[in-house]
Each structure stands twice: as structure tokens, then as C-alpha cells.
């Protein structure tokens, strides 16, 4: 999972929601489809979402030309355990969030600066020692990235990100 520079102006970033049967191998099928056909995965999150645990929701952020995005959707849709494929980017407004944990190791004024920035970004401190912080930040990918960039100068040592979770706005249900 890495950011690809958008060179071709036709290339767009799309967030897809895929409802699948929660069965063994289904994630491998989805990932295998992307690798086998040369599509990009920028973010991928997956977890069971119904109370019975029989369905999982995969959120995948991918980039490509409109033709490629269309192929990705129909190729996903023809996988046998796939129930629904929705293109949140195309089908109207949606909210996207990801969560990151960021560890920095620093001393002195850098600590104060880190706390100031964390406050501005509404990041929470989830662990602290005399020489380190672990921040938790939730937000759009851009915001998370901006926060990580600022922390880079202040002793950033480790980052973990969940990838994007997304829902359409309003009453609509997938």
C-alpha cells in the first residue's frame, strides 16, 4: 500500500465498499484479483459488520482511469462470494475516516511542540513516557498524513494506520 502519484489526469482515486460472505479465503480472492490483474490498492480494510458475523465489509481505496475503475467493479462483482460492490466516490457524498497511532521519541521543547500540534489536530495521547508519546488521530487521510509529516521533525519513530473506513452520507444503505 503506497501512494501513487497521479500523473495521468484521467486517473482518479475511488473508494469502493464491497460486502462479502465472511468465509475463508474471501480476502485472498479480492486481493488476488487486484494483484492478478495489475490493479492498485492504496488502502484496504476488512472486518465482519453484521451481528451474526456472516458478512464482512471490505473498503478498498484504489486508483485508475474510469475504464480501469469500471473493470475493477465488475470483476469484483463476479467473484462468487461478493454480494454488493458500491463506488462511494461515484455514488454521491460519503464520509471517510482512518485511524493512526503515531509514536514519537523526543525531549525538551520538541515535546511541547508535539503536544501543541496534537491539540490542533485533535489527536489524543494514548501512551506517554518521559521521552515518548503515542498519539491517536482519526480523520481523513489528508489530515492523518499532514499530522504524520509534522511529527516527522519531532522524533517520529513508528506509525500504524488502519486504512480508510467509509460510508455514504444520508439515509442510503448499501
Amino acid at each position: 500500500m503506497h501512494d501513487v502519484t497521479l500523473i495521468d489526469e484521467k486517473i482518479r482515486r475511488h473508494t469502493l465498499s464491497v460486502i462479502v460472505d465472511n468465509e475463508a479465503g474471501v480476502l485472498a480472492r479480492v486481493i488476488g484479483l487486484f494483484s492478478g490483474r495489475g490493479y492498485n490498492i492504496e488502502h484496504l480494510t476488512v472486518a465482519p459488520v453484521d451481528l451474526a458475523g456472516s458478512e464482512s465489509r471490505i473498503t478498498v481505496v484504489t486508483i485508475g482511469t474510469p475504464e480501469v475503475i469500471e473493470q475493477i467493479k465488475v470483476q469484483l462483482d463476479r467473484l462468487v462470494p461478493v454480494h454488493t460492490v458500491a463506488d462511494l466516490t461515484e455514488e454521491g457524498p460519503s464520509v471517510e475516516r482512518e485511524l493512526a497511532l503515531i509514536k514519537i521519541v523526543c525531549q525538551g521543547t520538541d515535546r511541547d511542540e508535539a503536544l501543541r500540534i496534537a491539540k490542533a489536530f485533535r489527536a489524543r495521547i494514548v501512551d506517554s513516557t518521559k521521552e515518548s508519546f503515542v498519539f491517536e488521530i482519526t480523520g481523513k487521510t489528508d489530515k492523518v498524513k499532514a499530522f504524520i509529516q509534522l511529527m516527522d521533525d519531532l522524533g517520529l519513530v513508528e506509525v500504524v494506520r488502519t486504512g480508510v473506513a467509509a460510508l455514504s452520507r444520508g439515509q442510503k444503505k448499501l
Binding site: A24, G32, E67, D77, V80, P81
Partner: protein
């Protein structure tokens, strides 16, 4: 699910499910991880088991069975090498959309992941080369999974499905039996096409000045009704029709509206008509690169209608103007209804100019070749094979290469399900096992594997299968001592450097036939050819014909890789004349 009093072992459940699903034949090879299933096969006589000599051949035989009958083929192999040997066959069935169910043995559940003896991650390995696959960890799910596997293999765009069954699951017992139709939770392919789109398609067809039908294997997969509906619609529309390799036979080759196969080795008239048409109706074909040639020069002036059951085939490589997602037979039936009920009578001279263009291309006679009295030309051999088998109940399989393309060009397929060939994957070694499968399904038919001397050696061991079950398959080898198609490309693209394409140390095919207990015939002169073919047909057991043909004949016409449909090499283009006797081609 119904509860029965008695509990059945997993192996019994598999056999009972197969019987309930109407399976008559299994192609397989035993091994440690499927012994309980083989024990159940031993105890029953409803389902016939054909013992192949290599698991790849089991899959190809099942493909031949499936494609010639329209029923799904069933394969049974053991774990590990049994499953990995089946992979080529599964991939072949995947690319050609052949409905198959392949049951693979697996090590017991507790041993999975431990690198046990003959363990392979079969569902992992076959995930990419099957339509779907299952690992059955609970015997209670086995019956339902078997039924679901058949449903998935045969509904929508057909394809191979693997059911991986650990050995302990074959032994454990359950009372769970699936009854009735499968209602799949998520897989529900669309059958009926969108009616407004169908109306629009008929309108486009009726108003076209230069229409063409471009049809493929989807017509054959849809069933015999699709072929007869296609014939009716094509005749009503008066339009020309061309077919992919996989679609040959859906429309009769001898009909005047048929232009022959299109694509890399398609006829001049088919490719030029595709290039110049104004409305293209693609029926159950997928714009394969061997069909389209250079994409940015593919049929530049046409509106394209695409009928396909698989939505992902639409706009995959070629943008189409009007997609219709549905089963070919259902869509064609609706198109015919619309055609007949609306005022779509063609203007008297509407297609006159178009047919004149086509006549001009036809006169170019792109399938001509230089005949010879000294050496058998491969094209001539197939023309004679065609002539001498016209009145027979004949099924043709092929291997892969020049002989395959010549078979497509010179044999006339009048009906669907009569040609079994590896189109998408191009699997050398497909033809003989496929012929075995066809002959099992049609014991009294004349089944001929048109082969090359290189391909036939890739699954020659299946001669033993043919002999064991008294299957009188005929292997007609066009023996030019080269991997001819590769050699042809070396001549065209690599300055004639024949790197490893000469078949040295060939076996004596006549003696080889005899070693297996079959009949062998060698023919070297054109004058003896008919006699050899007649002898082959009359022999009531497996036959190998070693037909020695011109060594350096090329397969033309040809759209070179990366060229457009109207940039063909024709057989009489001077610089590509073949020089019998060894001179390299330019």
C-alpha cells in the same frame, strides 16, 4: 436441508450427490487422499469412472465431455501432485468457460498446513484458475457444497470449480443432505437482457448498411437453442457472420452468409468485413487479442453491440456502444421477437453494396495454397479429411498450433459442440484427452484429434486410456517435424533462427500406436492420402495416422501480432512464399 435417520460417510455423500446431480461419468486418478471415495466408486455401478494416465488429461477429458454434451464434466484427483497436475486443465477450462467440477483429495484437516505428505494448498493454488473453489472442513457441509459447486460451474458464465475434501471429511459421517435447487446467497447471474436495449439493438441492426455478426463460444455454451436462434436471426437480417475459434459450428460453415473464422488466422473477407462494418453485433465473444489485432485500429467506424452473460467482458478491451447483459439464447429470442413484430423489413438493396464488398474480398481467396503432387500439403490433408468425413457423425478435437488453425480454416463445422479446442490458454496436449472425453460421451461417433507431432507427445500416455475403454479415437497427426507455429514466428520475427523448434528424435508413430495396441498408419504421398483416411475411419479401434506433410508450410492468412485487421499477410504475398527444401522465410 433434510434430516435423515441414517448417517453417511463423506465419501458416500459425494457419490450420492453426484448421482443426484445426474453425473454419469467421472474422469480421475486415484491416490492416498481419495481412497475412501474410490472405495465408494468400487461399490456402486451408477457412475462410470474413466481412469486416465495423468491428472491433466482427466481435466481435458472432462472438458471434451462437457463441450460435446453441454453437461458439466467431473474430475476426481488426489491431493498434492494430483491437484497440481490438474492446474493446467483447470486454467484451460477457466479461459474457455467450460463447466467442470474437480474434486481433489486433501490431507486430513488436522494435518493441513504441516507440509504433510502429498499436501499442497490446493484452494490457494487454484484460486486464480477456477471460477470458485471450496475447502470442505465439515462433513455436514459436504452435500450442500457439492450442489453449490455444480450450480456455480453451470450458471452464468460457466467455468471450473474445485471442491477440496480432506481425507477425514471423507470418512466422518453426517445425515445432512441437500435437496432441490441451490439458492445461492450472492451469485445470481442475469439471464434476461434489458428489453429497451434489445429493441435498440434490433433497430441498429435493421438500419445498418454494413452489419456483421461476430459470434463466439458463448453461443455454444448457451446451448443448442442459441445456435438455432442465431441462425434464424442472421438469415432474417441478411447480414454476414464471422466466428471466433471457440464459436465455430454455431452457424453452419457451408452457409453463404458465413465468412469463416476471423482474427489472426481468419479469412480476408471476415477481417476486412469486421474492419469496415458500420454495426457489429458481438454475440458471446470477448474481443480477445487474437481476434482484434491492434486495438486502436479495430473496426474503427462501427457501432458495437455486445451480448454477453459476463458483465466484466463488456468494455474490457474494446469500448462498445450498446452492452446487453444476459444469456445468448434469451437475448436472441427477444431480438427475434422484436424483429418479427416491428416493421423491420430490410430495404431491397440495403445490403447490396456490402455484399459486393464482401464478394470482392472473397475473390482474393485467402485460403489458397500451392498444391503439390510430391508432398502432402497440410491444408490438402485437412480438405481431404473434411471431404471424407462429411457424411459421418464426426467430432473434432485439436492440439495447439498450425494444425489447429488449419483445422479451423479447412474443416467445415456445421453444428455446435462439434469442435473441442483449447482457445484461450492454447494448451498443447489438449486434443487426445479431450477426444477420449468426447468418445466416452459419444461411443458410436467418429472422434478425430487433429494433431501435430509435437503437441501429441504432451499427453500421448492417454493412448492407454483409449485402449483400456475401447475408445476408437483417431489421431490424425500433421507431421512436419517442427513446432510449426513457433517456427513460423521465428521465420517472421526472428530472422529464421529455428531455435529449438525442430522435433528431433521423433518416435516412429506407427510403432508407437502398435505398442499401445492401437493401429498405426503412415502416409507420405498425396496419392495415398484418401486411402489412409478411409482406412483410419474404417478401423474399429484407436488409430494414429502419421501424415507426413510439407515441413515448412506456413499458416496464412495472418494478421501479424500488433497489426490491424486490414493489414493481413496473404498466402500469395511474395516475400512470404515458403520454400520447400529448407530456405528460411523472410
Amino acid at each position: 436441508m433434510e434430516m435423515a435417520e441414517k448417517e453417511w460417510s463423506g465419501a458416500e455423500i459425494i457419490l450420492k450427490s453426484l448421482t443426484d446431480l445426474g453425473v454419469e461419468v467421472i474422469f480421475g486418478y486415484p491416490g492416498g487422499a481419495v481412497l475412501p471415495i474410490y472405495d465408494e466408486i468400487f461399490k456402486q455401478d451408477k457412475i462410470r469412472h474413466i481412469l486416465v494416465r495423468h491428472e491433466q488429461a482427466a481435466v481435458h477429458a472432462a472438458e471434451g465431455y462437457a463441450r460435446s454434451t453441454g453437461k458439466p464434466g467431473v474430475v476426481l484427483v488426489t491431493s498434492g501432485p494430483g491437484a497440481t497436475n490438474a492446474v493446467t486443465g483447470l486454467t484451460d477450462a477457466m479461459l474457455d468457460s467450460i463447466p467442470l467440477i474437480c474434486i481433489t483429495g486433501q490431507v486430513p484437516v488436522q494435518l493441513i498446513g504441516s507440509d504433510a505428505f502429498q499436501e499442497a494448498d490446493t484452494v490457494g493454488i487454484t484460486r486464480h484458475c477456477t471460477k470458485h473453489n471450496y475447502l470442505v472442513r465439515e462433513v455436514a457441509n459436504l452435500s450442500r457444497t457439492m450442489h453449490e459447486a455444480f450450480y456455480v460451474a453451470t450458471h452464468g458464465r460457466p467455468g471450473p470449480v474445485v471442491v477440496d475434501v480432506p481425507k477425514d471429511v471423507q470418512i466422518l459421517t453426517s445425515a445432512e443432505f441437500h435437496k432441490g435447487e441451490v439458492k445461492h446467497r450472492s451469485y445470481k447471474p442475469e439471464i434476461k437482457g434489458d428489453f429497451p436495449a434489445i429493441k435498440q439493438a434490433v433497430e441498429m441492426l435493421a438500419n445498418a448498411k454494413k452489419p456483421i455478426f461476430y459470434t463466439g463460444g458463448g453461443v455454444i455454451n448457451s446451448g443448442p437453442a442459441a445456435s438455432s436462434l442465431l441462425r434464424e436471426l442472421v438469415r432474417l437480417s441478411g447480414a454476414p457472420i464471422t466466428s471466433t475459434l471457440m464459436g465455430l459450428g454455431a452457424y453452419p460453415a457451408s452457409d453463404r452468409q458465413f465468412l469463416g473464422m476471423l482474427g489472426m488466422h481468419g479469412t480476408y473477407e471476415a477481417n476486412n468485413a469486421m474492419h469496415d462494418c458500420d454495426v457489429m453485433i458481438c454475440v458471446g465473444a470477448r474481443f480477445d487479442d487474437r481476434v482484434t489485432g491492434r486495438l486502436n485500429a479495430f473496426s474503427p467506424h462501427s457501432k458495437k453491440i455486445h451480448i454477453d452473460i459476463d458483465r466484466s467482458s463488456v468494455n474490457k478491451t474494446v469500448r462498445v456502444d450498446l452492452p446487453i447483459i444476459g444469456d445468448v439464447a434469451h437475448v436472441l429470442e427477444d431480438m427475434l421477437k422484436v424483429w418479427k413484430t416491428s416493421v423491420h423489413a430490410l430495404a431491397p438493396d440495403q445490403l447490396k453494396d456490402w455484399w459486393q464488398d464482401i464478394q470482392g474480398w472473397r475473390e482474393r481467396d485467402s485460403l489458397q495454397y500451392k498444391s503439390s503432387e510430391e508432398v502432402i500439403m497440410p491444408q490438402y490433408a485437412l480438405e481431404r479429411l473434411n471431404a471424407l468425413t462429411r457424411d459421418k457423425d464426426v467430432y473434432i478435437t485439436t492440439e495447439v498450433g498450425q494444425h489447429q488453425m488449419w483445422a479451423a480454416q479447412y474443416l467445415e463445422f456445421e453444428d455446435p459442440n462439434r469442435l473441442m479446442t483449447s482457445g484461450g490458454l492454447g494448451t498443447m496436449g489438449y486434443g487426445l484427452p479431450a477426444a477420449v472425453g468426447v468418445q466416452v460421451a459419444h461411443p458410436d461417433a467418429l472422434v478425430i484429434d487433429v494433431a501435430g507431432e509435437a503437441s501429441i507427445q504432451m499427453n500421448i500416455q492417454e493412448m492407454a486410456t483409449a485402449l483400456q475403454y475401447d475408445l476408437p479415437v483417431k489421431i490424425f497427426i500433421l507431421n512436419n517435424e517442427y513446432m510449426g507455429m513457433v517456427r513460423q514466428w521465428q521465420d517472421l520475427n526472428h530472422d529464421g533462427r529455428h531455435s529449438h523448434t525442430y522435433s528431433e528424435a521423433l518416435p516412429d508413430f506407427v510403432k508407437l500406436a502398435e505398442a499401445y495396441g492401437a493401429h498405426g498408419i503412415r502416409v507420405e504421398k498425396p496419392a495415398d492420402l484418401d486411402k489412409a483416411i478411409v482406412e483410419m475411419i474404417k478401423t474399429d479401434k484407436a488409430v494414429i495416422v502419421d501424415c507426413r506433410v510439407a515441413k515448412l508450410a506456413n499458416c496464412f492468412p495472418m494478421v501479424p501480432s500488433g497489426a490491424a485487421h486490414n493489414e493481413m499477410i496473404l498466402p500469395d504475398d511474395e516475400e512470404f512464399q515458403d520454400h520447400e527444401g529448407g530456405a528460411a522465410l523472410v
